[in-house]
């Protein structure tokens, strides 16, 4: 059939074939791949024993209330640490960004601090703080391992976040400093009104990744005996010799981190669109 050459091409987006075929192909390939994997694993001679030890629904149900309780502890630590890290890292980044010679000693201290806390494994910091400082029995400060382990997490993560803030501050055009100075703004006012709002907007996607990473890294506090999700799951394992409780904890963490990861992706995508629009 000959059609008018100037007519627009037929809209095929509503055509069931263009929608259904790719979906069908993906579905078939997913079933094939995962089916083969499942068959391969379950055909192993040890599978029934592993199934009983890790995938026992009865044990999962029994462990769930305690693990969930521990999970709330994890999330509380996560939220508290998040706020503390955000603020403390901002202080570090601002001190490092101030250019007046007066602040040179403070700048040096911040550089040393960041080097130390980025250079030591966070698990080691948690152990040192969680077991070491309570032993000092410092007057006026709490002695709980949870508190000092949390402090270690905050101090370590803040070193990373301070560097992210700094990259954001450095990414702001030099002309902004010149404009602010030409208007008579002090250094602090320049940061407060011009540089930091732009810097934070630029590093938001990178910060979201830290938020997600921290959400699961709070499980490190379990090494101090803090009764978080991981610890509760281990306690169940220790009394019943069944590991299904660990999978319960893993499932709870996934429920929390996957939405956060999607949110991080969304923030990153929105940021990219904004940058593209600006360069047009």
């Amino acid at each position: 059939m000959i059609r008018d050459a100037t007519a627009p091409p037929r809209d095929r987006s509503g055509d069931w074939r263009t929608v259904l075929f790719p979906a069908l192909i993906s579905l078939v390939s997913i079933i094939a791949v995962f089916g083969a994997l499942a068959w391969w694993v379950t055909s192993s001679p040890q599978w029934p024993r592993v199934q009983a030890q890790f995938f026992s629904l009865g044990d999962m149900r029994a462990a769930f209330p305690r693990v969930l309780e521990g999970f709330w502890v994890s999330m509380q630590v996560w939220l508290t640490a998040l706020v503390c890290i955000g603020l403390w890292a901002l202080v570090l980044a601002v001190v490092r960004a101030l250019r007046a010679p007066l602040f040179a000693p403070l700048r040096l201290l911040v550089v040393i601090y960041i080097d130390i806390f980025r250079g030591v494994p966070v698990l080691l910091m948690v152990l040192l703080f969680g077991f070491g400082i309570p032993a000092l029995n410092l007057p006026g400060l709490p002695n709980a391992a949870l508190f000092w382990g949390g402090v270690a997490m905050v101090l370590t993560y803040a070193a990373y976040v301070a560097e992210i803030y700094r990259s954001g501050i450095d990414s702001v055009h030099e002309g902004q400093w010149a404009a602010a100075k030409s208007l008579g703004l002090t250094e602090w006012q320049t940061l407060r009104y011009s540089i930091l709002p732009q810097a934070l907007r630029n590093v938001l996607p990178a910060l979201m990744n830290i938020v997600v990473a921290l959400q699961k890294d709070v499980a490190l506090l379990s090494v101090l005996g803090v009764r978080d999700a991981v610890r509760e799951a281990q306690i169940y394992t220790a009394t019943t010799f069944n590991y299904s409780s660990l999978l319960v904890a893993a499932g709870l963490f996934l429920l929390a981190t996957i939405p956060m990861a999607r949110l991080a992706d969304w923030v990153a995508r929105r940021d990219r669109v904004r940058r593209l629009q600006r360069t047009q």
């Binding site: 902004q176 010149a178 030409s182 208007l183 008579g184 703004l185 009104y193």
Partner: protein
Amino acid sequence: MTAPARIHIQALTKYFGNRPVLDGIDLSIALHEVVCLIGASGSGKSTLLRCINGLEMWDRGTVRLDGVPIDDPGFGGGTLQKRIAIVFQSFNLFPTMTVRDNITLAPCKVHGKARAEAEKTAHHLLTRFGMAAFAARYPEQLSGGQQQRVAIARALATDPDVLLLDEVTAALDPELVGEVLSIIRDLKARGLTMVIVTHEMGFARDIADRVAFLEGGRILEEGAPDRMFLAPHNARTRRFLQRIIDAGRL
């Protein structure tokens, strides 16, 4: 008797490393006078401008405003910037703030003006520059010419005695240059003292009371615009202008 100098620059010298960017500049700008600085890129004209309101420090010499050195402690706390404002080639508006907040920031935060009063001033300036409808917009939503008009309004918000303009039309599309130049003409008509660095030679000839030609950090020649453009004394000024004419920019 000559008119009293609003700005008096004496033997101003500045080095980048061991290369002099300003090499003994002497220049006076009288009240209500408009002086254009011309010269090739790297001749030091922008650096000279940035020294006048303390954006850059220099190594030797003095810059005086009404007889007082601008590094005098009395000019601290934004006092100097209130009296000598500058507009940049790349606008340098604050992108996270609305047009209105860009203009009221320094009056409110540096000079302690009441918010309502600062906003009234901002509104007057924006109206004068045909930008009143854009007060609540963000800089990124404006064209280059509109952004530069806002930047000029921001510079004028503290009612400065001297306005420095650093190649303010160089980053604009050709069809947007006119709207910014007409504002500068209007400012001259109102008697504002200005120092203008520009590559728009036709505009310089038209608006300047005096033109200074810089090369290698020195003022090689200065004089009335007609004399400078029609009968330059210095061979290097002639060569520079010839290149401009060859490029079709005059």
